[in-house]
């Protein structure tokens, strides 16, 4: 047996295995397929795809309810959407208590064996989506308007509790980011291979200015001016102190939050000094009378968020240099390979991650080095000996495949979105939140942890197998057994690609003064390709603040057509 294997060389076997394994990587996940079906109006097929892929009781039950919640939202079945989103919220709450047994098994098998618990920004997104659903129901049923607006405010109060806890933990945009605190000995050895911690500053999800802003709008709709003022103040402060920069938003967004704050202060009365201070800081407009009267806020959820994909690395021991070496195994289409290399460089290069991330977010990958880029950790004599004694070096003789995630690059395809009321253009929408950047930053922030866990998992698997081989005393088969272990580990290594896929890429918004009565809304989304997507609706304007939302799919297979063909409130 050994004589047969040796000429072929173990490395070749491992390479063949990796090729076979990698060929199956990065297949389109079911929830991506579902949202692609939904963007072409095939809601029933989309829902069936979700229901058949993600069971109501399995480890992916959260994904089932998140995706169905979005699909029903798009279908304007708001009550059903809220039922699913409510269940999703309950599942996230349950996950506060971490199942030690499940986590431990996942550490030896893979992250996909855990129950999907969502990301920290999913909970506020659920609250916002549910509130938009209730707001749409309020618009649809004028007789029960206050009842539905009250229900929307319940979501906003829950959101406030969540964000208060979040800002307590993260310090918000005023405080210090929390540290990692590595103690494990394997991790201490591996730590220099990972991204330097200071490269990952300023990308924490610390607070949510957009969620506070939506909260302010909804409180104002119900004429609860004190609560609206507090939420606008929180939104404006967070936008100003870092949220706008972090998510690449214009300063007009911050100014609009302050304009709203000034408006509710004037309505409530008694804030003369604060209004003067705002006037001095932001100039004219804060006290203008055109800010009074009924107002319409249009929210456009645009596009589809980027997909998580698998990225593979090979961890090996270099005996001659007494070093550990991580080599990226780029795979897939040329664009995917380029993205994987860029991701590797982003996490390990000593340049500013923030600048590179902004380029990545715009799809501007430039000319990255596609050569044999590696990250090398010289251990030195004493550490090398220590690693050898523990069995780490022997375990890595044939290398260990480490599977982590990366996020596909996304590009801004919308040139501008115009708001037309009763046949007249009134303004253009600004981007108020980038869910794509939020997802990207979350993925980058977790990449370090994910890689630590993946490295440790694969090393533990390799070392356990190595010790088992030694205990059998069959040293003649040692080489083959090590190869077999490497092959098995290469096959079982896998990254956790699960995410709420149907979220929009960007959220755009505009606010304009209107008069009470019925108004005809048209949104004209102009793409960089020259295509124009039109969406229309009519809406009854109320005395305070009226909210209207829509979803615009950029890649819809349907031809551009005017009017209601594309209307999806």
């Amino acid at each position: 047996m050994l004589s047969l294997l040796r000429p072929l060389h173990y490395q070749a076997w491992l390479t063949v295995t990796l090729i076979v394994v990698l060929t199956g990587c990065n297949a389109t996940p079911a929830n991506k397929n579902a949202i692609l079906l939904a963007q072409n109006g095939q809601y029933e097929q989309a829902k069936t795809t979700i229901e058949t892929t993600y069971s109501a009781t399995g480890k992916n039950k959260l994904l089932r309810h998140l995706e169905l919640g979005t699909l029903y939202h798009l279908e304007q079945q708001y009550e059903l959407s809220n039922e699913h989103l409510d269940t999703a919220k309950a599942i996230i709450e349950e996950q506060y208590t971490v199942s030690v047994s499940e986590q431990a098994l996942a550490l030896l098998s893979g992250p996909t064996y855990t129950t999907f618990a969502g990301k920290e920004f999913h909970r506020p997104m659920i609250n916002v989506f549910k509130a938009l659903n209730y707001n749409a129901l309020a618009n649809r049923h004028p007789a029960q308007r206050q009842y539905y607006l009250d229900a929307a405010l319940v979501e906003m109060r829950q959101l406030d509790t969540y964000l208060s806890t979040l800002t307590d933990e993260t310090g918000g945009y005023d405080g210090e980011p929390s540290g990692d605190g590595l103690t494990d000995s394997i991790m201490r050895v591996l730590q220099p291979l990972l991204a330097p911690n200071d490269l990952l500053k300023n990308i924490d999800y610390k607070d949510d200015a957009f969620a506070h802003y939506i909260s302010g709008l909804l409180y104002e709709s119900s004429n609860e001016l004190d609560a609206a003022r507090i939420q606008y103040q929180r939104a404006a402060t967070a936008f100003e102190q870092g949220f706008a920069e972090q998510y690449n938003l214009k300063t007009t967004v911050t100014k609009q939050a302050y304009l709203d704050l000034a408006r509710v202060m004037r309505k409530a009365g008694g804030y003369g000094n604060e209004l003067v201070a705002l006037e001095e800081k932001w100039g004219g407009g804060m006290t203008k009378t055109k800010q009074a009267g009924p107002r319409l806020t249009v929210i456009q959820n645009a596009g589809i968020g980027p997909q998580r994909k698998e990225f593979n690395l090979l961890l090996k021991a270099d005996h001659s240099a007494k070093a550990l070496v991580v080599t990226p195994i780029v795979w897939g289409t040329p664009a995917e390979r380029k993205a994987q290399m860029w991701w590797f460089q982003m996490l390990y290069a000593d340049t500013s991650l923030f600048d590179m991330m902004q380029n990545y977010a715009t799809g501007d990958l430039g000319d990255v080095a596609m050569g044999a880029l590696t990250k090398r950790l010289p251990l030195g004599d004493s550490l090398w000996q220590s690693a050898k004694t523990s069995g780490l070096i022997d375990a890595l003789e044939h290398g260990s495949r480490i599977a982590v995630t990366y996020l596909e690059p996304f590009e801004q395809k919308i040139e501008k979105t115009e708001l037309w009321l009763d046949g007249k253009k009134v303004t253009e929408l600004d981007t108020y939140h980038s869910v794509s950047l939020l997802t990207l930053q979350s993925a980058l922030k977790n990449a370090n942890t994910e890689m630590q866990i993946a490295l440790t998992r694969e090393v533990v698997k390799a070392m356990t197998a190595h010790k088992a081989i030694q205990s059998t005393g069959l040293q003649a088969f040692d080489g083959f057994a090590k190869l077999a272990t490497s092959v098995v580990n290469a096959v079982t290594a896998g990254a956790d690609l699960r995410q709420w896929q149907s979220l929009p890429s960007h959220i755009k918004l505009a606010q304009v003064p209107v008069t009470q009565g019925t108004v005809n809304i048209t949104l004209k989304t102009k793409l960089r390709s020259g295509r124009v997507i039109e969406q229309s609706d009519s809406l009854e304007i109320n005395e305070n603040m009226t909210l209207w939302h829509t979803r615009t799919f950029i890649e819809s297979a349907k031809p551009a057509a005017p009017s209601t063909l594309f209307t999806m409130e």
């Binding site: 009250d150 109060r157 866990i453």
Partner: protein, 204 residues
């Protein structure tokens, strides 16, 4: 991150334990008394609704306005529930709470109840139908409704304080009774409920 790092160290022990307890869980359903409190979370539940309604109506009927009305009008007061707005952080079935209020008022025997606007309209439609289709002896006359003397309204508010897995939720129900002739507030009641929920960070 810290949680996962800690778990790495506990892996061997936990794997053994988890394998040992695998298969122990099962689904079990049992019938329980509707009056028995089954609190699975700190959310507002049916028992809260029932207890608050009983306590507040008892308080309301202990105020002097009931006897004052009896002496002045010679009949039991008629009450209408206008609205109870949910301003809490939980979705509360306000209709259920209103029904608990109604039951408490009716059970006391000290006050009458007038149906709300939607129900009144349905009954009026029924009477119109009777005029056309029912026999003269069984028809009910229009214009004989009892008007409400007092209007009951209020709010449910809540505050939440959270630290780690511990959460204190404070519910406050405020109700007021207004004399519909004079707009005088004859009663103002308040009931508070505080709940503590403790969750552990780790479990099997």
């Amino acid at each position: 991150m810290n949680c996962k790092t800690t778990l790495l160290k506990l892996t061997p022990l936990v794997v053994a334990c988890s394998l040992a307890i695998t298969g122990c869980s099962s689904t079990k359903v049992q019938r329980v008394d509707a009056n028995q409190e089954v609190a699975l979370s700190d959310k507002w539940n049916g028992k809260d609704s029932q207890l608050v309604a009983e306590a507040m109506i008892n308080d309301m009927l202990s105020f002097p306005w009931v006897n004052d009305h009896l002496q002045k009008e010679g009949s039991r007061p008629a009450i209408i529930i206008q609205s109870v707005r949910n301003k809490s952080h939980q979705h509360i079935a306000v209709d259920t709470f209103l029904n608990d209020l109604k039951r408490s008022i009716l059970r006391s025997g000290q006050a009458d109840f007038v149906a709300n606007k939607d129900v009144r309209q349905e009954i009026r439609d029924e009477r119109k139908d009777q005029e056309l289709n029912a026999s003269l002896e069984t028809q009910n006359e229009m214009g004989q409704e009892q008007g409400a003397d007092y209007a009951l309204s209020g709010t449910i508010n809540s505050f939440v304080d959270q630290q780690g897995g511990d959460r204190v939720t404070f519910y406050q129900v405020d109700l007021r009774l207004i004399d519909m002739t004079t707009n005088r507030e004859v009663w103002n009641g308040q009931k508070k409920i505080q709940k503590l929920q403790e969750r552990s960070r780790f479990g099997f």
